[in-house]
Symmetry: C2
Subunit: 328 residues, 2 copies
């Protein structure tokens, strides 16, 4: 009996989930839900339905796990608790500061309806968080460093696009190599995000726009760019399309710590990701946790969980015996 998956929201992440479900024999995509006109939406899974979000309730007994693929700003805070009344749910809520509130909302909805909700699944929050937790538990006397990139930051790209005279833009966040090396050797206890990253911008101007003014606007933008080492390149629309159309990303989680009678032994734990497609990789993590949600639910578990609360074996289709024999 396969885990029947629903997708709510069919942007980059939703399409990524569709691809990831196809890579897992124990899963099947049953339906995609959209708030737009379903007739206008073409998906690539022939056996799955396309439905309007208002019809969610009709699918209550036909879907095991709903994977929420909306944005963290306004979609997920509403959609995840709503869907948790009908299905087991998994989302990638990534506004770190608002996770406690979101957890409480999903926990209330899921507990009352007898479902499981796993929130903030992906790579950060998600796999990076897991690595911070494992590394902190193992090396209590140490310090963490997280680096992001090289990769496209959608938020920063959008911020550039809002500047007058900018037709399109793509922004890459890039870790500073020297800071990475310092973190690896335990010599970067207090580097700030700004000291650890540079920002590189590729900008297509509107006809007649003032490049020098646009560059100044970018470099002086508070929070986004002002305190960073920022480089701006003006390129053609054609070049943006051919050389910067992807959504690569990645990053590094490091923990450096000491052990021994006199804290004399140094250790470094490093986890890194190099991703050609940020949304497809995030989708792959979501699908693995959808498997976990379904299995935990069958064991009678209820309420909201995060990656911290789920034993690794639940992510794999392989039996405990098989895992011990092959991967331990």
């Amino acid at each position: 009996m396969k885990t029947r998956i629903g997708i709510f929201g069919y942007g980059n992440l939703g399409r990524g989930v569709e691809c990831a479900v196809r890579q897992n024999d124990d899963m099947e995509l049953v339906a995609v839900f959209t708030r737009r006109d379903p007739a206008a939406l073409s998906i690539s899974t022939e056996t799955a339905s396309v439905c309007h979000a208002k019809d969610l309730e009709h699918w209550k007994d036909k879907i095991d796990v709903m994977i929420l693929c909306g944005g963290s700003a306004t979609d997920l805070p509403v959609q995840t608790p709503e869907c948790a009344k009908l299905f087991h749910v998994v989302d990638s809520f990534d506004t770190h500061a608002r996770i406690p509130g979101h957890f409480a909302d999903v926990d209330a909805a899921a507990s009352e309806s007898g479902h499981i909700g796993i929130i903030s699944v992906g790579w950060d929050p998600g796999l990076f968080s897991l690595n911070r937790l494992y590394a902190n538990a193992i090396l209590p006397d140490g310090h963490d460093n997280t680096f992001w990139g090289k990769g496209v930051s959608q938020g920063h790209s959008d911020a550039i696009r809002r500047i007058k005279g900018v037709k399109d833009a793509k922004q890459y966040t890039i870790p500073v190599e020297e800071a990475l090396d310092a973190a690896r050797t335990g010599n970067a206890p207090s580097l700030t995000t700004r000291q650890k990253h540079t920002r590189e911008c590729f900008v297509v101007l509107e006809e007649g726009a003032d490049a020098a003014w646009v560059e100044q606007e970018i470099k002086s933008m508070p929070n986004y760019f002002a305190d960073y080492d920022t480089t701006v390149h003006f390129i053609s629309e054609e070049e943006l399309r051919t050389a910067h159309s992807g959504l690569p990303h990645g990053g590094f989680v490091l923990r450096s710590g000491v052990t021994g009678q006199s804290r004399e032994h140094h250790h470094t734990i490093e986890y890194s990701l190099k991703l050609d497609s940020n949304p497809e990789f995030t989708a792959s993590v979501l699908v693995a946790y959808a498997r976990a949600a379904h299995r935990l639910a069958k064991e009678g578990q209820r309420g909201c969980k995060t990656v911290f609360d789920i034993a690794p074996s639940y992510l794999s289709p392989v039996s405990g015996e098989g895992l011990r024999a092959s991967l331990l």
Copy 2:
């Protein structure tokens, strides 16, 4: 109420556990057990007792978790199931092929006595296994590569020491840089352990030994060295002591996989460790899982577990709420 820890076996690993317990405020070392004369053993924790292994039973209600620090060849297969009759236990059993049998033995003993046993805890098996599992679940279409080193292999060092004319020796396992790079880019699907590592040996000869003969004996030793690119250096006893006295180790777990409509996007997940002291780091992992064992036991769990079966949050002294706010 602190978790009361016992240590069985006081070699490098046992001393590492003693150091690691001191780094965790919620743990205390209660007693160290030895099969030698307790009066001859001096430990560095003033508040802990040193006892003979035959007195284990007297400590039944005074120790929560016993950490087994013996060897996998003959100690742990006997000691872990025996101790599981009296205490919750954690061991670092690392003979991969014999894990299923050891699991069954510990599960039988622990289930019957109402204890928890966590076996094969450390970094490989242990943290490396976890990373293989997470990465396989997330990227089902891909392949794994594990590299070990640079680090001291005790088994290989011992093998050299058994050769006639060798007074002392230390062997380092070193990953081949080109193989690592190939694995990172997804171009090393079928590299063997031999293709991925070289072996470097530092040997102190007995007075009058034949260096050329010893070198040949090492390089032609089946399984250990014959099929590897092996380098042999003859050094003085003094140099071995000053430059090669430590037990550093480490390694890399890589998974490289593809996603997308046409498998067009490539991803690499990499986990690596650089450890100044293999036994102290392994001990730190054991202590984190001792915390998990005690907490799981309080929830009524019983029987044998591995790192695959334990939710990450159990390793940390921080509450779920605190973890979500600080590390997610």
